[in-house]
């Protein structure tokens, strides 16, 4: 068990070395660089173009709902792949199981449509 905790020494050394590296890079830069602040340098960096609007812009909630629905069917695909590979060995039982699984997910999609969350008009 002592070995188990000794493994954490590696983690500690790693964390310490990482912190040291960042401090050294920033610290050396701070020592070497000239300091000439200007208003243009203080603006937010947005891929080189002039920044538009504030930093606290709002994103519409419907992006979140679409992402959520996408995620559900993404996970479904992840389940279907191993199922499809082994389907011939698993037989009818697995087929029925998967149909039930997909029907439950489709019920969720029908629910979302009926509740009107897929309408994109504002």
């Amino acid at each position: 068990m002592a070995e188990y905790f000794q493994d954490y020494i590696t983690v500690a050394v790693f964390a310490g070395f990482g912190a040291l590296l960042v401090a050294a890079a920033v610290g050396v830069g701070w020592l070497l660089r000239p300091s000439r602040p200007s208003a243009a340098k203080a603006t937010a960096y947005e891929c080189g173009i002039d920044p538009v609007g504030g930093g606290w812009s709002q994103t519409h909630i419907r992006y979140y709902i679409f992402a959520l629905l996408f995620l559900i069917f993404d996970v479904e695909a992840a389940f279907i792949f191993p199922w499809a590979v082994r389907l011939e060995q698993l037989g009818l039982f697995a087929l029925v199981e998967m149909v039930i699984f997909i029907v439950i997910l489709l019920a969720g999609l029908v629910y979302a449509i009926r509740k009107g969350v897929l309408k994109w008009e504002s």
Binding site: Y4, I104, A107, K115
Partner: protein, 490 residues
């Protein structure tokens, strides 16, 4: 391949969830209560296979021992189904008054109950964790149901943050247990305990698991979220949290301690001794100072978690029948507590609708203008305080009997003394509410309240019947505790 009979309650609950969603989609908004009615029918239907399984008897193991349907699981599943039905009954009129998201509410409550039902059978670290998450995740949303109300938002956010933190702590503890024993099924963890019992990582794993469940059952010092959450959440949700969610935590603690950590009783016994003593004392003392009835019930449910933990505390010193008695004590306390606490919350919902307030001072003279509600409140509060002949005395009786299983044990006797002092303190704050209701003069202008709705009245009648019957005839609930005690001796 599957034992369909044993899994039928879960299948019925799953089908009920889909039906409730369907009903919510298809009916007009003013008929959304049908979704709740469908939920209650589903809960009762899920109870039928429990009866047939109990009739057949025996223990059914599935998935290599990680899902077990035994007498303990049947009793606890039955409790959650009945408690869920009572919560749904108590919710209906409340939701009518709030006028939004009725269907989703029933769906989420049912999902949480399904999680509790899964937990009752879980005999595996991963299955148990999934069950616990299914209990908690819908509850986070339910706590914030009144989204226009700042207090409800506060309740939801606090509950969510603490819930996630406790899940992380619990998972970390489970990972240490798995890492040291190399097993995740409870019986096999118990088998592998002897080889690792002295190792610090295993002890740490057991303690972290206890802390994780400590948050779920709101044991001091992991309780601070509970009163705020109960106060901000809609009242029926608070009732559900104090019985369903807390009950699921207690059930998890019972199975994991008595079966997985059966060989580590010298670790969790003393730890839970401290937790029980602290939880009772802090819960009751803080409840003394509350002016809001819901906060008072919040702290009272914290204190009751302490009483449930009391028999656990002596497990390290007990063997054989005394250990079984301790298991029986905690489980029976939970069974009794569930009904009387649901009753107390149902009475508070009814009185809050009648008086339009949750402050104790505003309930002055309630007995003058609404004697029935005041009497109901008296019955449930005196039962919570443990006054015979109401059900609460029997819960306290088995709890004391369990902790004094070995009368020569100084730790057991001292914990019993702490519990006895706390029972007296508890009587004081329950009686204070009743003094306001029965002895204080009624206000000049009586509050205009809505009449008692039928579903809420049904919830009150059921809980009242059980509270009275189990007090006069304790065998009613003790029978179930007795049937389920076999889990204590692996």
């Amino acid at each position: 391949m599957f034992d369909y009979h044993a899994l039928l309650p879960e299948f019925i609950l799953g089908a009920t969830l889909l039906v409730v969603l369907g009903v919510d989609l298809l009916v007009a908004p003013r008929r959304r209560w049908l979704a709740g009615a469908a939920g209650i029918v589903g809960l009762l239907a899920a109870g039928v296979p429990l009866l047939t399984l109990a009739g057949v008897g025996g223990t059914r193991e599935m998935f290599a021992g990680s899902y077990v349907v035994d007498d303990f699981a049947l009793v606890v599943k039955g409790l959650f189904l009945v408690a869920g039905a009572i919560v749904l009954l108590a919710s209906m009129s409340y939701l009518r008054g709030d006028r939004y998201y009725e269907g989703e509410y029933y769906f989420l409550i049912l999902a949480s109950i399904a999680g509790a039902v899964v937990m009752a059978s879980a005999r595996d670290l991963i299955t148990m964790f999934i069950g616990l998450e299914l209990v908690s995740a819908p509850a986070f949303l339910l706590a914030g149901w009144r989204k226009g109300d700042l207090r409800s938002n506060e309740a939801s956010l606090k509950f969510f943050l603490i819930g996630v933190l406790s899940s992380a702590v619990l998972l970390f503890g489970m990972s240490l247990v798995y890492g040291t024993t190399g097993e995740s099924t409870f019986t096999r963890i118990a088998g592998a305990t002897a080889a690792v019992s002295g190792e610090s990582a295993f002890v740490l794993g057991v303690l972290f698991t206890l802390v994780g469940f400590g948050f779920k059952i709101a044991a001091v010092p992991f309780h601070f979220w509970a009163p705020d959450t109960y106060q901000g959440a809609p009242l029926p949700v608070a009732a559900y949290l104090s019985v369903g969610s807390k009950g699921a935590g207690v059930v998890g603690l019972l199975t994991i301690c008595y079966s997985a950590f059966a060989g580590a009783r010298d670790v969790w016994g003393p730890a839970l001794w401290v937790l029980a003593a602290l939880t009772m004392t802090v819960g009751n003392l803080t409840a003394l100072r509350q002016s809001n009835v819901v906060r008072l019930l919040g702290y009272s449910s914290v204190a009751h978690a302490g009483f449930i933990l009391v028999p656990f505390a002596m497990a390290a010193a007990f063997e054989g029948p005394a250990l079984e008695e301790a298991f029986f004590g905690s489980l029976t306390y939970l069974l009794v507590y569930a009904f009387m606490n649901l009753g107390a919350f149902a009475a508070v919902i009814a009185i809050a609708e009648r008086t339009g307030s949750r402050e104790i001072d505003d309930w002055a003279g309630l007995a003058r203008y609404s004697p029935t509600l005041a009497t109901l409140l008296g019955v449930f509060f005196f039962s919570l305080a443990g006054i015979p002949p109401l059900a609460g005395w029997f819960a306290k009786f088995v709890m004391f009997k369990a902790v004094l299983g070995d009368p020569g044990n100084a730790w057991g006797v001292s914990l019993a003394v702490i519990a006895a002092v706390n029972a007296v303190i508890a009587l004081f704050f329950y009686a204070r509410v009743l003094k306001a209701a029965f002895m204080d003069p009624a206000p000049e202008s009586l509050p205009e309240g809505a009449p008692l709705s039928r579903p809420l009245a049904a919830a009150l009648v059921i809980t009242l019947a059980v509270t009275l019957a189990a007090g006069f005839y304790p065998q009613l609930l003790a029978f179930f505790g007795e049937a389920a005690r076999g889990l204590a001796l692996p």
